[in-house]
């Protein structure tokens, strides 16, 4: 489908949704609107709120805090995941010993850790970073582990026949393979970094998008809740676009998925 037509259709969905929302919450049918604006707000109110936040500049601080938390969570979680993934993949004994514990830790709903992290790291950004790290770490860890394990045996045999030492194998074979798996999960891990930050803020904080939404909820300020969700959604999309750009640059050597299918 042509790009222009696709964009037009995508915009149409947004337009229909907003118009319906507007009509249902503002046009009175038999005295009052079909959908109570107290619980659902109106597009106009939400837009006014978003405008106010940006006009007055209060939103930037919250955005910055959430971005910082998500970025730190991503960097620390990825680094940990890469290191441990590599270590486990190259040392099968270690992997076997820790296997049940890794599974237990991963099965744990991270949200129950949030209060503990708050106790340990306080109400500042550190507790949110810690929550994000627990989410990002496992995604990256599993992918890197898989990436190192699933290097094509032919490529490996070829590398050996070319005379590669253990260190050269690491650099030229295992490392690129692991990285490619890590990058293929980039969207998921970046998304989870943001989720960790926002959920952490929501459960107890003094700033950030999650805090903003929680505050609005506490005062039945539905327009504020929706405005917060809208800003969060746009924030995530912008990050996702950036990730796609990074991915295109880093994974040029990989065939597009469409190429693989006849």
């Amino acid at each position: 489908m042509p790009r222009l037509k696709l964009t037009a259709l995508q915009l149409l969905v947004a337009l229909v949704t907003i118009v319906l929302w507007h009509l249902l919450t503002t046009i009175p049918v038999g005295g009052k609107p079909l959908v109570p604006p107290f619980f659902f707000s109106t597009p106009g109110d939400v837009a006014a709120r978003v405008y106010k936040w940006f006009y007055e500049g209060t939103i930037w601080r919250h955005l910055w805090i959430t971005l910082t938390e998500a970025t730190l969570a991503f960097i620390i979680g990825s680094a940990g995941g890469v290191l441990v993934g590599f270590w486990f993949a190259r040392q099968p004994l270690v992997a076997d010993v820790f296997d049940p514990y890794v599974k237990m830790a991963n099965a744990l709903p991270r949200i129950v850790l949030a209060p503990i992290f708050t106790l340990w790291f306080g109400l500042g950004i550190l507790s949110k970073v810690a929550l994000g790290v627990t989410l990002v770490f496992f995604i990256v860890f599993f992918n890197v582990y898989q990436g190192v394990k699933e290097v094509s045996p032919t490529v490996l045999a070829n590398a050996r026949m070319l005379g590669m030492s253990e260190r050269q194998l690491m650099r030229h074979v295992y490392w690129p393979s692991a990285l490619s798996w890590m990058f293929s999960s980039l969207h998921t891990s970046v998304g989870f970094a943001v989720v960790g930050a926002v959920v952490g803020e929501y459960l107890g904080s003094a700033a950030g998008l999650g805090y903003l939404i929680l505050q609005a909820e506490g005062t039945f300020d539905i327009a504020g809740v929706f405005a917060g969700m809208f800003v969060l959604a746009v924030f995530v999309i912008v990050i996702d676009i950036l990730v796609t750009m990074v991915e295109r640059r880093l994974l040029v050597w990989r065939p597009l998925a469409a190429d693989a299918r006849p």
Partner: protein, 279 residues
């Protein structure tokens, strides 16, 4: 072992053995702990600069024998000697061209070729310079920046060939390297291989199931029986003149006679092989 000193003056290189397999048996432990014998009592002597093709039915253990020569598999019995020295571990003097894709998918064609030198300690700059020359030699001069997935099957084989040959190995091990290619491309690749080989003669072990390809390329054709416990059952000299053109040599009478002669002995084994594998 006494060596008869009747070395032909035309082929002075055929004096020392490049690869010697002496009474090699290869066995694998299967998942149910039973022992599977792939190759039994195989003895083969390949002279320096000699091009030997090993032909056999599908699944007869040809590749196994090649992996033994490469040092990727240790034989259960018998010995492998490279240039007169017993092989222990990987065969450092051999270049190996694999049947399936063995290029590093995350490296460009140029880097894939250059890595063959870089692992040996050659500086990146020099390696890339020489890699560019090698790419040109295999006809891919302008494809250096492409990644393997952007190349056709034949082009990938060319890169693979350059990757192996840039290290100038004395022994070239090839495991049905042109198997996945179409007939036309195989012929072109065969001629390219002969060109490169005649420029710098290496001992070649070329595995194939295609008897025509084997005769057209090699100095000697070795026939293996159907597996399991495959043995070497025939060894023919190919007296056809060089330089050869793969397409043209197949039209010559000598080619046909030899083909018929070898096929007579191979036929029974091929049928046996199919019966065993259910193919």
């Amino acid at each position: 072992m006494s060596h008869v000193a009747t070395v032909s003056t035309e082929q002075p290189s055929v004096s020392a053995s490049a690869v010697t397999l002496a009474d090699v048996t290869v066995a694998f432990r299967l998942a149910d702990r039973s022992l599977f014998t792939a190759v039994q009592h195989a003895s083969l002597d390949i002279a320096a600069g000699e091009f030997v093709a090993i032909v056999g039915p599908t699944g007869c253990g040809k590749s196994t024998l090649l992996n033994v020569a490469a040092g990727l598999i240790a034989p259960a019995a018998g010995t492998v000697a490279i240039g007169g020295h017993r092989l222990d571990g990987l065969n450092r003097q051999a270049g190996y061209l694999f049947q399936s894709d063995a290029l590093f998918p995350w490296k460009t064609a140029l880097d894939n070729v250059a890595i063959g030198l870089e692992v040996g300690g050659v500086s990146s700059e020099e390696a890339r310079g020489r890699a560019a020359q090698w790419l040109a030699r295999v006809g891919l001069g302008s494809f250096g920046g492409r990644y393997p997935h952007m190349l056709s099957g034949g082009q990938r084989k060319r890169v693979g060939l350059a990757q192996v040959l840039i290290r100038d190995p004395q022994i070239l091990l090839m495991d049905e390297p042109f198997g996945p290619l179409d007939a036309q491309t195989r012929q072109i690749m065969g001629n390219l291989l002969l060109d490169l080989w005649s420029a710098a003669r290496k001992a070649v072990i070329f595995i194939t199931h295609d008897l025509e390809e084997a005769i057209a390329l090699s100095d000697r054709v070795v026939i293996m029986s159907a597996g399991p416990a495959a043995r070497i059952i025939g060894d023919w000299k190919v007296p056809l003149p060089r330089p050869r053109d793969i397409a043209e040599i197949k039209l010559e009478r000598g080619f046909h006679e030899l083909h018929r002669e070898i096929w007579q002995s191979l036929k029974a084994e091929v049928i046996k092989g199919y019966e065993q594998t259910g193919g």
